[in-house]
C-alpha cells in the first residue's frame, strides 16, 4: 500500500470521524455564545480558540465538517447518479445521435464558468446548503459522464462483451452487469477527486454567504467571519483554513493512492 493511500486515507478518516462524533459529542455547544471569552487564542480549554461571539472553534470545526461532507457527498452523488448512466448510454450508442447529444451537452456545461453559475444559481434561488448542493452537483454530471464513457467505450470492443451480446443481453443489461463493475475503480478515483473539489466549492460559496446559512456552521462562513478580524485574531482564519486544506489534501492523496493501487499503469503518467 502506498504512502499516499495510507496518509490520505488516515486524514480523510479523521475528518469523517470528527463529523460523525460531532453528532453525539462536541467539547462545547457549537452555537453557545460566550462574549466574555471572545477571540481567545487556542488554549487548554478552547483547543482551537474562540470566535468573535466566544463560540468554541473546535466544536464549530467538528460540526462544520458535517456540512462540508454532506454537501460534497450529495453533490458528488448527483454527479454519479446522473453522469454515470448518461456516460454508459453514450458509450453503448457510440457514434449515434444519443452519444452526440450527451457529449455536446457535456461540452456545454464544461464551457460555463462553474463558479459564476453556482453563484448565480444560489443567489437567484436563495442561499442555502440545498441550492449549493444542486449548483455544485450540476457540474459533476459531465465529469462523470465523460469518465464513464471514456472507460466504457474500449470495453465494448472486448470479447466478454461480445459474448454477452451473443447471449442475447441488451445494451442496458450489459452496461449494468458487465461494463459498470469494470469501470468501478475509475469512478471511485474520480469520486474522490470530485469530493475534494466539492469541498472547496462549498467553502467558496459559504464564504460569499451563499452556502449553508446560520446557525449551521460551515468552514467557508467561518472564514468570512474572520475576514475583518484577521489582524486581531488570526486563529479565526487559520483554523478553518487548515481544516479545508487538510481535508482536500487528504482526499487528493487518497485519490492518488487509490489510482496507483487500482491501476498501476497510471503511475507513470499521472498529472
Amino acid at each position: 500500500m502506498s504512502r499516499a493511500l495510507i496518509l490520505g486515507g488516515a486524514v480523510s478518516a479523521l475528518v469523517v470521524m470528527a463529523a460523525l462524533v460531532s453528532f453525539v459529542w462536541t467539547p462545547f455547544e457549537h452555537t453557545a455564545m460566550n462574549i466574555p471569552e471572545k477571540l481567545q487564542s487556542p488554549n487548554s480549554i478552547h483547543w482551537f480558540g474562540t470566535d468573535h461571539f466566544g463560540r468554541d472553534m473546535f466544536s464549530m470545526i467538528m460540526v462544520g465538517a458535517r456540512t462540508s461532507i454532506a454537501v460534497a457527498f450529495v453533490a458528488v452523488g448527483i454527479g454519479i447518479g446522473l453522469g454515470v448512466p448518461l456516460g454508459l448510454w453514450a458509450a453503448a450508442r457510440h457514434g449515434g445521435w444519443a452519444d452526440e447529444i450527451i457529449m455536446r451537452g457535456n461540452d456545454l456545461i464544461f464551457a460555463f464558468p462553474s463558479l459564476v453559475i453556482a453563484i448565480l444559481i444560489t443567489a437567484i434561488f436563495g442561499a442555502g446548503a440545498v441550492n449549493a448542493i444542486i449548483a455544485i452537483g450540476i457540474f459533476n454530471i459531465p465529469v462523470f459522464a465523460r469518465v464513464t464513457r471514456g472507460g466504457a467505450m474500449p470495453l465494448w470492443r472486448r470479447e466478454f462483451i461480445m459474448a454477452a451480446r451473443v447471449a442475447g443481453k441488451g445494451a442496458m443489461r450489459i452496461s449494468v452487469e458487465h461494463i459498470l463493475p469494470n469501470i468501478a475503480n475509475l469512478l471511485i478515483v474520480q469520486a474522490t477527486i470530485q469530493f475534494s473539489l466539492a469541498i472547496l466549492a462549498e467553502a467558496a460559496l459559504s464564504y460569499v454567504g451563499l452556502g449553508a446559512q446560520p446557525p449551521t456552521p460551515s468552514w467557508g462562513r467561518m472564514l468570512a467571519d474572520a475576514q475583518t478580524l484577521v489582524s486581531i485574531a488570526p486563529h479565526m482564519a487559520l483554523v478553518p483554513g487548515f481544516a479545508i486544506i487538510l481535508t482536500v489534501l487528504g482526499l487528493n492523496l487518497l485519490g492518488d493512492g487509490l489510482r496507483d493501487a487500482l491501476d498501476p499503469r497510471l503511475r507513470v503518467t499521472r498529472v
Binding site: R104, A111, L120, A123, I124, L223, T269
Partner: protein, 315 residues
C-alpha cells in the same frame, strides 16, 4: 484544417446560442420584479407599469430574449436598471480591473509553474521532484480566498508593503495600479501554478519516453540538454492547452478574489447587481464570461489542431 475550423466554429455558435438561452431562462425564473425593487414597496401600480414599459419588462419573453441577444451582437448590452447607465460601459470600466488581474495572475502562474515543472521532471523520483510535487499537492488544496486573506495578513497588515484592498486606478499610474493587483494576482495564481506545474512535469515525462529523446541521448546529449532542446518544445502542446483554459478560468474565477480585496471588477459587479436585482447586468456579465470561456476553448482547439494534424484527421 479549414473544414475542422468551420466545424468547430459552428459548434461554437451553437454553444453560444444554447448558453444564452440557459442564462436568460435562469434569470427569467428569478423571483423579484426589478421595477418593484427599484421603486420600493409604496410604488403606485401605474408608476410600476410605466417603469416596466420603460425597461422593456412588459414585452414577451421571446421579444426580450431576441432584443437582448440582438443588442449584444451589436455591442449594446442594454441599460442598467439600477444606475441607468449603459451596461457595456459598466462592463468596459470593470474589465480594466478584471482583465489585467487575470493576465497578471496567468503570468505569475506561468513564471512559477514552468521552472517548477521542468525541475521536477528533470529530478524524477528524487528529493527535488518529491518536494515540488508535495508543494503542488498543497497548492491545489489551498482555497484561493483563504490564501488571499493570509497574504493580506502578512503583506498588508504586518509588513505594510501593500494595501489590504481597493484599486488605485490606472490614472494613478501603472505602478500603483499593478501594486494594488499584486496580492490578488498572487492569490489567484497559486492554485493554477500548482496545476500547471503538475501538467508540465507530466507532459515532460511523457516526452522523455519517446524515441527521439532516446536518440538525442544516444547522440551524447545530457538528460538536461535533451530536455531543453527537444523535450520542452514537444511537451508544450498540452501545457499551452491548459494555459489557455486557465486564462478563462482566471477571468471568471477572480470573482471571489475581487470580493476579498474589494476590487471594482466584473465579479463585484455581478454580486452587486444580483443583490440589487439589476438582472440585465447579471445576464450580460455572465454571458460575457461564458463567451470568453467558449472562445478561448475554440482558440485552444484551433491552435492544438494547427500543431497536431492527427486531431484534424480525427475531426
Amino acid at each position: 484544417m479549414l473544414r475542422y475550423a468551420l466545424k468547430r466554429f459552428l459548434s461554437l455558435l451553437v454553444s453560444l446560442a444554447i448558453a444564452s438561452l440557459v442564462i436568460f431562462a435562469v434569470i427569467e425564473v428569478a423571483p423579484g420584479d426589478p421595477a418593484s425593487f427599484m421603486l420600493g414597496i409604496n410604488a403606485q401600480d401605474d408608476t410600476l407599469a410605466a417603469l416596466r414599459a420603460e425597461l422593456g419588462l412588459d414585452q414577451s419573453k421571446v421579444q426580450r430574449y431576441l432584443g437582448w441577444i440582438g443588442g449584444m451582437v451589436q455591442g449594446d448590452f442594454g441599460t442598467s436598471y439600477q444606475y441607468r447607465t449603459p451596461v457595456a460601459q459598466m462592463i468596459g470600466d470593470r474589465l480594466w480591473v478584471s482583465l489585467p488581474l487575470a493576465l497578471y495572475a496567468l503570468a505569475l502562474s506561468t513564471l512559477i509553474a514552468f521552472p517548477a515543472g521542468i525541475y521536477a521532471a528533470s529530478r524524477r523520483g528524487k528529493v527535488g521532484d518529491i518536494g515540488v510535487m508535495g508543494a503542488t499537492q498543497i497548492g491545489v488544496a489551498i482555497p484561493n480566498f483563504w490564501f488571499a486573506m493570509m497574504l493580506v495578513l502578512v503583506f498588508a497588515i504586518n509588513l505594510r508593503w501593500f494595501s489590504a484592498g481597493g484599486f488605485a486606478g490606472w490614472d494613478k499610474g501603472v505602478v500603483a495600479a499593478m501594486k494594488s493587483l499584486t496580492l490578488p494576482a498572487i492569490a489567484l495564481a497559486l492554485p493554477q501554478a500548482a496545476i500547471l506545474a503538475r501538467v508540465m512535469r507530466s507532459a515532460l515525462l511523457d516526452v522523455l519516453g519517446e524515441d527521439f529523446m532516446r536518440t538525442a541521448r544516444a547522440k551524447g546529449l545530457t538528460r538536461g540538454q535533451a530536455l531543453r532542446r527537444h523535450g520542452l518544445r514537444n511537451a508544450m502542446i498540452p501545457v499551452l492547452t491548459i494555459l489557455g483554459l486557465q486564462f478563462s478560468f482566471l477571468l471568471a474565477g477572480g470573482i471571489i478574489i475581487e470580493q476579498v480585496f474589494y476590487l471594482p471588477g466584473l465579479g463585484r459587479l455581478i454580486f452587486q447587481s444580483i443583490s440589487a436585482r439589476d438582472l440585465i447586468v447579471v445576464e450580460s456579465v455572465t454571458m460575457l464570461l461564458v463567451f470568453a470561456v467558449i472562445v478561448v476553448n475554440f482558440a485552444v482547439d484551433l491552435a492544438y489542431a494547427a500543431v497536431d494534424p492527427r486531431l484534424r484527421a480525427r475531426a
